[in-house]
Symmetry: C2
Subunit: 151 residues, 2 copies
């Protein structure tokens, strides 16, 4: 490995794959790369990098298993449609479990599966960070907007 290669590797991630994606035959285990447009992991990433999906994961992590209506009350502004849709996707990908208790009226509870819990533990800090730094970002906005108003 050359000095150059060492330097690039030290910076992080997997630059080789970032160039293009097509002929990564070096390993029997194909490299997945969120930066590559056609990589399956990019599709997953694009799906998870969504406001509602992340809020659902955070809510389940913070408040534990919840019913559909609890989630909707807890996550301000979600419509039933978006909540249903996002939950289905999370369920499909094995992140969330949907359990129906055949009562009347029916009770449906959503909970994190191990995979979803892993992800939620990475996402929750993101939510807290946003709350902690929101004022700072808003302040930066005002400065930026002010500087771009004298036109």
């Amino acid at each position: 490995m050359t000095t150059e290669e060492t330097a690039r590797a030290a910076i992080g991630w997997h630059q080789e794959a970032q160039q293009e994606q097509g002929q990564e035959q070096e390993q029997e285990e194909l490299e997945l790369n969120v930066f590559a447009q056609l990589c399956p992991s990019r599709e997953m990433f694009a799906e998870l990098a969504d406001k509602w999906s992340l809020l659902i994961l955070m809510s389940l992590a913070a408040c534990g298993p919840q019913r559909f209506s609890e989630l909707q009350r807890g996550i301000g502004g979600v419509s039933r449609k978006m909540l249903t849709q996002s939950l289905r996707t999370l369920e499909r990908d094995g992140l969330v479990q949907r359990t129906v208790y055949p009562e009347t009226p029916p009770r449906v509870v959503y909970d994190l599966l191990p995979l979803g819990r892993e992800l939620a533990e990475l996402v929750s800090p993101l939510g807290r960070w946003t709350e902690q730094r929101a004022r700072q970002m808003l302040a930066a906005r005002e400065v930026f907007d002010a500087a771009h108003t004298e036109a």
Copy 2:
């Protein structure tokens, strides 16, 4: 604090604020809450919970300061329009710095500001997690889809 309240607090986050948002006068420092529809932090969160914004932050964290064209090559599938737009937002919120070197042709370099670096360090693990678990999620999908095909 009742046993019930202790339990709720232990679960995490700030349930009080999750109910509604309007009369949190308990502290001089208003509580920010990403779960509340009208909270400023929600707006910030919605803005950051975006595919392109997150990929830009990850790319800058992984590869260091980059020019516009480098970012576009590194992030597969971004159009100039989306890249410009996302970079402007990140710049406006004080996460990214844009530096113009008045050469010919002009050279523009983007880099993380301290605030953006903080965020990037929370976001990058998310990208790596997605790559590591993508296969698992895809496998879960097949199972889910198979189970919902016999109709």
